[in-house]
Symmetry: C2
Subunit: 288 residues, 2 copies
């Protein structure tokens, strides 16, 4: 008899997850959403093996429940359904912050495991109509297991990551995740929206290249989601933004000084650091 | 009898230009460089129809000379060869600043036309070994003609842009070009290097997604080139950076205030501006 994975919330990430997971081992993939148009779209496009509006009917049967809601949606869902998850089952999520989510998951009874999960993938769009099963290919998948999480559940998440095409699985603590993501993700979004606040934005069309498109792509963000992510991780984000302001201002001063040797040395330092990184991954500009 | 286009400097852009121009109308494409290894690579890889180290032998015959050197290399070349260009010919360039280049081109005799040119394309790499003929596809090509530039020469540049695959040709003044490019290009590079100066850079590997890769890709820049571009356009760049610092700081303060409604309104404003832009173009992250 087949087992069940419930995907709660069929937005951009949940929809992509339900698409990517189809055929994974002997799991039936059940998509859950409260929106009738979303469910209809999901059913018509084969997002998951079947879909339903009734979370309360699915999660008592589900061996794995993946919460693909906005952060506050996840905390509310955990509170509301805490006593309905199947004993021995695994609950996980896809959220871009982890400390607040792990704390919220403390409401679960001890026989339900929770492993925080953050697939480092996404686009600047929202909604199931932009979901695609290849979204996670070549991305990192970050796990923040509890101390009590079972090896069996961690191994299951690793196989799941492999199946949906992730490049690797990185394990860390919720606190470290949130400190680093404030830098690698949230700060990138603050930069993008700040650049788009420039009065020159609309006169610059025709004068932009790939560096401008690459930096500003994510400015067209999901306002509700990112308001929550920024607010719920504000101490780490503010620290990262303070460092950015300092580093930007140092470049501003080097340029203003007219000292080209100093500027050249600063650039050689930064460019050298970047070359050491050698980051590879999916390129999403073509979705612009 | 065929006409001649001389491409002076076979680096990343010049090499790509010489590759892209092959077969353009009845022009022979002659690549010129001072570096013996570069010339050998160019000859072995068919970069242009032929190559030579002797600029002085080519430009008196060239109907079009495209200067693909660093900014100060262009100003030096114009000064050194000002009396050797073919009368009636067109000299142009590919440089990311235009005011200083147009001023330097004032040394040319009146019978030699000069049209400033900036193809909005490139990668974070340098040198002929990274050149590719498709570089300019779907890019903007910006022209800053002189008031005295002939319609014939402008039309020739437009056909050339079309042949190498540019999306459109935008005409402007050198001053407007430099003010806008300080924002769309130079500022993006300052952001990228500033982000890479963050102490968290090397610990964040495994925690980065496409927004981080998109923003920091260009940090691995050509130090000599960008030192010149930033320095030779510093007034416009400093103005742009001051606006960025202000816009970033406003976001920092909105986050620090804890007022999620204010933050949400700010994000909706910026995201709405970005959506209005709808920028399309080649995606260069896959070259990372």
């Amino acid at each position: 008899m087949s087992k069940t994975i419930a995907v709660i919330g069929l937005g951009l990430i949940g929809g992509s997850m339900a698409l990517a997971l189809k055929g994974f081992e002997d799991f039936e993939i059940v998509g859950v959403d409260v929106s009738e148009p979303t469910l209809r779209f999901a059913a018509e496009h084969g997002v998951g093996d079947r879909v339903t509006a009734e979370a309360g009917e699915v999660i008592p049967q589900a061996d794995v429940t993946i919460l693909c809601l906005h952060p506050r949606g996840i905390t509310r869902f955990l509170e509301e359904y805490k006593n309905q998850f199947k004993p021995g089952s695994l609950v996980t999520d896809v959220c871009g912050i982890k400390t607040a989510i792990m704390e919220a998951a403390a409401v679960l009874p001890p026989e339900v495991d929770f492993i925080g999960c953050h697939p480092m993938a996404g686009t600047e769009f929202s909604g199931i109509e932009h979901a695609f099963g290849e979204m996670f290919q070549k991305s990192h998948l970050i796990l923040t297991p509890r101390e009590t999480s079972t090896q069996e559940h961690i191994a299951l998440m690793e196989r799941l990551a492999d199946y949906i095409g992730c490049k690797d699985v990185v394990r860390t603590t919720p606190e470290e995740h949130d400190a680093i993501l404030a830098y690698t993700s949230q700060m990138m979004h603050i930069i993008a929206v700040s650049v788009c606040d420039d009065p020159m934005l609309f006169t610059c069309k025709g004068f932009e290249g790939s560096s401008f498109r690459g930096c500003t792509r994510v400015a067209a963000l999901d306002v509700g989601l990112w308001t929550q992510l920024f607010s719920m991780n504000s101490p780490a984000l503010l620290t990262a933004l303070d460092r950015l302001e300092e580093n930007l201002h140092a470049y501003r001063e080097a340029i203003a000084s007219g000292d080209t040797r100093l500027l050249s040395e600063k650039l050689a330092f930064s460019a050298g650091r970047k070359r050491k990184m050698n980051l590879e991954g999916p390129d999403l500009l073509s979705l612009d």
